[in-house]
Symmetry: C2
Subunit: 213 residues, 2 copies
DNA sequence: GTCTATACAGAGATAGAC
DNA sequence: GTCTATCTCTGTATAGAC
């Protein structure tokens, strides 16, 4: 079996590969702009310009702005799913949650991509009716909820909070304005990351001297 | 001194009073819409319609959308200042911070007004160059930082965090997406409020068994 | 499928009468 | 100061040639 046939296992034609690569480039650009400027402020022109194609060409790939940005968010969730699945096996539940938090916040500090879209945007509405997104988020939630439950039974996380609440407390950090506020005050990314993770997790972990009710 | 002269102490003419009342109504409507829909999504037409006046009339009061929404946010900060100033004198620093958090979150759950504008909106930029807003926020920050410092020396709050960081951790809750996420999952406002305050403060308070470094 | 050029709609802002 | 009617610009989306 030579290199060519190895690379083209399910026989995607070169054309199809290019097509896919182009779409990936578009989604990536859309992700970045979505993160930097938000759904309402970003423009399709900007996305097209960033990729280096004409706007009309972009509309051959995606039906509209909503469709494009939905794809971008789904792409982000897929990355999150991959991250969750690839975590080293030797981490205990709490370490996994810590790693998750780190990953979410680092993403927000870099200008890469958006997970939680702004509550007010039209995109939020589009996502609510997007099956792919909803099922992906459901799986992510289940995955994390499993760890939360484990950490709770292991006595690492507070048992007086519903797992749901802990899940939300963690995921919500990916859009926490605290990071931007600290940035404005001149702090460095490393400090910010450490503080946000610390203050968030400290509110969730089971304290040594805590009295259970 | 009769009633009339009492009511019109600094002699604001009826006309001026009406003018002021009208502007207040406009700002109030803008605040609510800003909170519900965000800066980019809301329209000046909606504000005018909510107040019951024509859009052109609104433009006699405010120079533009930025100006109007800036006024709305400043109005909100002023309310916050009043709240801070009117807290009962018998509360200790930590109780004050708790009350502050409660106030901020309740505001977010009701659909009233916006304090932190979305990071991406054009409004955020406008506020950055608005002296009135900046100085008001500075005073609010100083006020709260004072309580934080007191709570830290009293051993109520963690001393390993800069007061700045604690301040941000508290204020950022006013735009925490965690509330919306919990709402979507069907929880009631009272539960949500309690959990967010709990998880936030638990990460900041000095734990009984904590070892200082 | 990619381009240039254009149609169309929405929203911010203004003109001018009253 | 308030109104109706209008201007103007921007951004989504499409038409049609290649």
């Amino acid at each position: 079996m030579d290199l060519m046939s190895t690379l083209s296992q399910p026989r995607p034609s070169f054309k199809a590969q290019m097509h896919r690569a182009r779409e990936d480039a578009i989604v990536e650009a859309a992700s970045r702009l979505l993160r930097e400027k938000g759904f309402e402020t970003m423009t399709v022109d900007e996305v097209a310009a960033a990729v280096g194609i004409a706007k009309a060409s972009l509309y051959k790939h995606f039906a509209g702005k909503d469709d494009l940005c939905t794809a971008a968010v789904v792409h982000g969730v897929a990355r999150l799913q991959r991250f969750l699945g690839e975590l080293p096996a030797d981490l205990d539940p709490l370490q996994r949650l810590h790693a998750l938090l780190y990953w979410l916040l680092e993403l927000q500090l870099g200008e890469e991509m958006a997970l939680l879209s702004e509550r007010t945007s039209a995109l939020a509405q589009a996502l609510r009716t997007c099956d792919v997104y909803q099922s992906a988020m459901l799986e992510v939630s289940r995955h994390i909820l499993g760890w939360v439950a484990q950490a709770q039974t292991a006595g690492q996380l507070r048992r007086d909070l519903p797992p749901d609440v802990i899940l939300c407390a963690l995921l919500a950090r990916s859009a926490d304005p605290m990071l931007a506020m600290l940035r404005e005050r001149g702090y460095g990314n490393a400090e910010i990351l450490a503080w946000v993770i610390d203050t968030c997790l400290s509110g969730l972990v089971q304290q040594p001297g805590h009295i259970e009710t």
